[in-house]
Amino acid sequence: MFTDRQPRSFLDPQVLARLSAVPLLARRPMVGSVSGRHASPHRGSSVEFAEYRKYVPGDDLRRLDWRAFGRSDRHYVKEYEADTNLRLVLVLDTSGSMNFASGEVTKIDFARRICGALAYLASQQGDAVGISCVADGIVQTLPPRRNAAHLRLAFDMLDEVRPAGPTRLPEVLHELAETIRQRAVVVIVSDLFCDAAALASAFSHLRFRRHDVAAFQLLDPQEIAFQFQRPTRFLDMEGGEAIFTDPIDISDRYHRAVQAYLADMKRIVLESAVDYHRVLTSEPYEQAVAGFLVGRASGRGLR
């Protein structure tokens, strides 16, 4: 099915092979266009019995349960669960801050790997995959499709996207909540360096639209540790004003600010039921994606 032979720096076949063992499942019923492996809010033709329903004229006589008619002398139609595909919308933060790296891996590289792996896995199981690259707006977007050519386009987009500009993630998420037509799994890959209250509002909006929202927050170890030995001039990667300070002097206050932000974020994701994963870019991305997939597999059966 996947015919893209072009090598992609963010795809590791061995990692993908290992991750393929766990299906990508939605936490909520999806409304797909074709049969798939995801629960649907509608009745369908799967082997899983759902309920009996009284026969009404026009129903397919092949679905009439004769045994029930023999027992009760009434006509019942046997209904089964429907399985469908899902729409996976990857929201990739491409603001300037995603280009930060204290080590070898930038946050945008790390995000590419996560997005690439998820896109591939979804495509492999017949789900539609779309990507939205966002910064101070929607920079590039690829609506969800489920064909192999579309996956190649998605990989191309991941390849070509370059981080730049400021972040307006909450506004962009509001916009996406309105523009994604049907229920979808919305996976946000970002450092989430924006106003926590605005972000909470955006998450709630997506949830209101019955989207299954997941978020990978990418953090660089240096952003947490904040270990500098010399006075430093910090250049804002999103074009803001530079700050000159002695990190030794303000490290305690910086750590307090980080702690407060992380606590806020934890509260927000709990309140808005976001499948939240905080990931350090020094960790293997396979671990992050596997955790994401396994967490969802355990929630199978929700309709």
Binding site: D191, R233, F234, M237, S251
Partner: protein
């Protein structure tokens, strides 16, 4: 604060190193692209008052630590509480010691005197200062004595206590002379004294010239005054005012008048007073109720076999100052009361002959009328007083009179009928003034000298003496009695205490001195008594002045009593009894030593105005060192500064660790 190695202080600007390093560190900043700006902004927005304060405190403590190390290397010295005078190691140090009896007063614990810790502290201080040369000035006549090492000051024989008053102006003049002639480079003059007025003589005109002289010295001279000005409490001083030998047939007895005094009012006390005469001891109790008690005419019978000449000692029990508990006296048969009268006016001469010829006791008194031309043949050696009513002596006559005065004779000059321009002892007779209405003396000194009150405290009736004619006196004299308008009636020569000028004559046309004979009689007899004091074989002398008396005795002297361990070169400075030929001399502290009158601190400052002067308060029995090296204190200060710097740095580290743990825990939860 002074330093033994002040050149090290050149490095003191190094204390700014922490700030400079801080500034350099600020300049070599790094530029980092940063994503999590929102945390940085939040961190900067958080309260930074304490952080900034801590930052500057750390810098300050680092500077203090560096400064403390530099100061410690400079070997700082602590000089008591003042330490105002700067400077390092002096080239010469001159110690001016006040060895007067009042310096022997002990502290409240009764241990050491003021002089002992003074000498020890001076020795310690100069040893610490490592002065190039150390000299001690304790006697203006002897001048500065160089000592091998400063430690020797404490044991120097000529730096021990004496009974003589210290003449501070003379001592400082002696120090100045030495500095001018010998000392090069910086000199420190250390004065150790109890600030008594009779030692310092603040009214002495010499102070101004000494001050000017020191100011003009090319080398730097610093004065350090170690002041022991606290008076001794509970001290009682003993003084014998007169000793008279009386002979009644074959029996002889001593009539002693003495006084015990104290400087502050106190409870009624009974003081046992011990007399020791020729190995025989007797005692009498004296009730001391106020500040002074006088035992008048205490009779001590002498053995028949005793000589008509001898010595004794009166003493009281030990108290705060042992130097004024003993008093030596000598006695001998009184010399003949012989008076020379030179008078050009027979009327005046007759009156003078009468008043001089009647002794107050039954002793014989003789008067020799000497014509002005017969001075060469007069018996000068046996006369106690000279009454001179003639033009002031000139030429050879002046030499006779001057020799008489130098020997101790007393002279009273009365004005001649026709005053000349002759001058003697600073006095010159002026013009006669006839008073139409007789005048009387307006004021006179009743506390001392020839016109002093009687022993009973009654003033002489000088105010009843009518002055009909008076002769003015020009020149250098101290007025003892003055006429209306301020002119002197009676004056003492400021050059010689033994010379008195009387501005009128006892002739009836000039005054009623003859008619109101009491005043003239008292004045003349007092002068004769003074003159007799040096004529007899027994003589009382003040310590200090006794040196000249012993030297003038004309025979080798031997010590009969007193400080046996005192150097023979200082015999006249110590209390005791000395025998020179037929004469006995009792040496005691001067009467002024018993008065605890101290010079005010401000006045002392005034005396050293314009000079580098610092005073350090000392106390008797003080064992602390005056000058000490205090580099340890600076090292401790450095350690404290470093500990403080470390403590201020601690909270920063403590805050960083929980932050790291917090992230980890959140990660684990996620």
């Amino acid at each position: 604060m002074t330093f033994l190695q002040p050149w090290v202080l050149v490095a003191l600007p190094l204390a700014a190193l922490p700030v400079i390093i801080h500034l350099i560190n600020q300049r070599r900043f790094q530029t980092v692209p940063w994503a999590a700006m929102q945390f940085l902004l939040a961190a900067k927005a958080l309260s930074r008052g304490y952080s900034r304060l801590r930052h500057w405190l750390i810098l300050l403590l680092r500077m203090l630590a560096v400064a403390a190390v530099i100061l410690a290397v400079g070997r700082p010295l602590s000089r008591g509480w003042l330490a105002l005078a700067g400077g390092g190691r002096p080239d010469s140090a001159i110690v001016v010691l006040d060895r007067s009896p009042s310096m022997q007063a002990r502290g409240p614990d009764g241990g050491e005197s003021k002089l002992d810790p003074g000498r020890r502290q001076l020795a310690d201080s100069l040893a610490t200062l490592r002065a190039g040369r150390v000299l001690v000035v304790s006697d203006p006549v002897r001048g500065p004595e160089e000592v091998a090492s400063s430690e020797a000051i404490a044991d120097l024989a000529t730096a021990g206590p004496t009974a003589a008053a210290a003449d501070l102006p003379a001592l400082l003049q002696s120090a100045y002379d030495f500095i001018r002639e010998n000392a090069a480079g910086t000199t420190e003059v250390w004065i150790c004294s109890d600030q008594r007025a009779n030692d310092w003589r603040p009214d002495d005109g010499a102070w101004a010239s000494i001050r000017d002289a020191f100011t003009k010295l090319p080398q730097q001279v610093r004065f350090q005054f170690l002041a022991y000005s606290a008076p001794a409490t509970g001290n009682v001083a003993l003084r014998v005012s007169s000793v008279r030998l009386e002979t009644l047939g074959r029996d002889r007895r001593l009539v002693v008048t003495l006084a015990v005094s104290r400087q502050e009012d106190g409870d009624r006390r009974t003081l046992p007073v011990r007399f020791e005469i020729g190995g025989v001891t007797s005692a009498v109790d004296v009730e001391l109720t106020g500040r002074e008690a006088v035992l008048t005419n205490h009779v001590i019978p002498l053995e028949r076999s005793a000589e008509a000449k001898g010595w004794g000692k009166v003493s009281i029990s030990a108290d705060a100052n042992p130097a004024d508990n003993d008093f030596f006296f000598v006695y001998a048969a009184p010399a003949e009361r012989r008076t020379l009268v030179v008078a050009e006016d027979p009327a005046a001469g007759r009156v003078l002959e009468l008043v001089a010829g009647i002794a107050p006791d039954k002793a014989a008194a003789t008067v020799e009328l000497v014509p002005p031309a017969g001075l060469a043949t007069a018996s000068w050696d046996t006369a106690a007083a000279l009454l001179w009513q003639a033009p002031l002596p000139e030429g050879r006559d002046a030499e006779f009179v001057q020799a008489f005065v130098d020997r101790g004779g007393q002279v009273i000059f009365f004005p001649p009928d026709r005053p000349t321009a002759a001058e003697f002892a600073g006095g010159v007779w002026g013009e006669w003034t006839a008073h139409g209405t007789p005048v009387t003396a307006e004021s006179w000194r009743t506390d001392q000298d020839l016109l002093a009150n009687t022993l009973a405290g009654t003033a002489l009736p000088l105010g009843e003496v009518e002055i009909r004619r008076s002769c003015s006196l020009a020149g250098d004299a101290v007025s003892l009695a003055s006429l209306p308008g301020g002119g002197p009636l009676v004056a003492r020569s400021s050059r010689a205490d033994a010379i008195t000028f009387c501005g009128t004559t006892p002739a009836p046309r000039d005054s009623s001195l003859a008619a109101e004979g009491i005043v003239l009689y008292a004045v003349v007899q007092r002068a004769i008594d003074r003159g007799l004091a040096v004529l007899g074989n027994a003589r009382q002398a003040d310590a200090g002045a006794a040196t000249a008396a012993l030297a003038a005795a004309g025979a080798p002297w031997t010590r009969r009593a007193g400080a046996a361990n005192a150097p023979s070169t200082e015999a006249g400075l110590h209390a005791g009894v000395f025998a020179a030929g037929d004469r006995l001399v009792a040496v005691n502290r001067p009467a002024a030593e018993d008065a605890a009158l101290a010079v005010a601190d401000k006045q002392v400052d005034t005396l050293f105005r314009g000079l580098s002067f610092a005073r350090i308060a000392g106390t008797a029995g003080d064992t602390d060192r005056l000058v000490r090296e205090i580099w340890r204190a600076f090292l401790i200060a450095m350690l404290l500064a470093l500990v403080g710097e470390g403590l201020l740095g601690l909270p920063r580290l403590a805050a960083a660790q929980p932050a790291a743990r917090g992230v980890g825990s959140v990660e684990a939860a996620a």
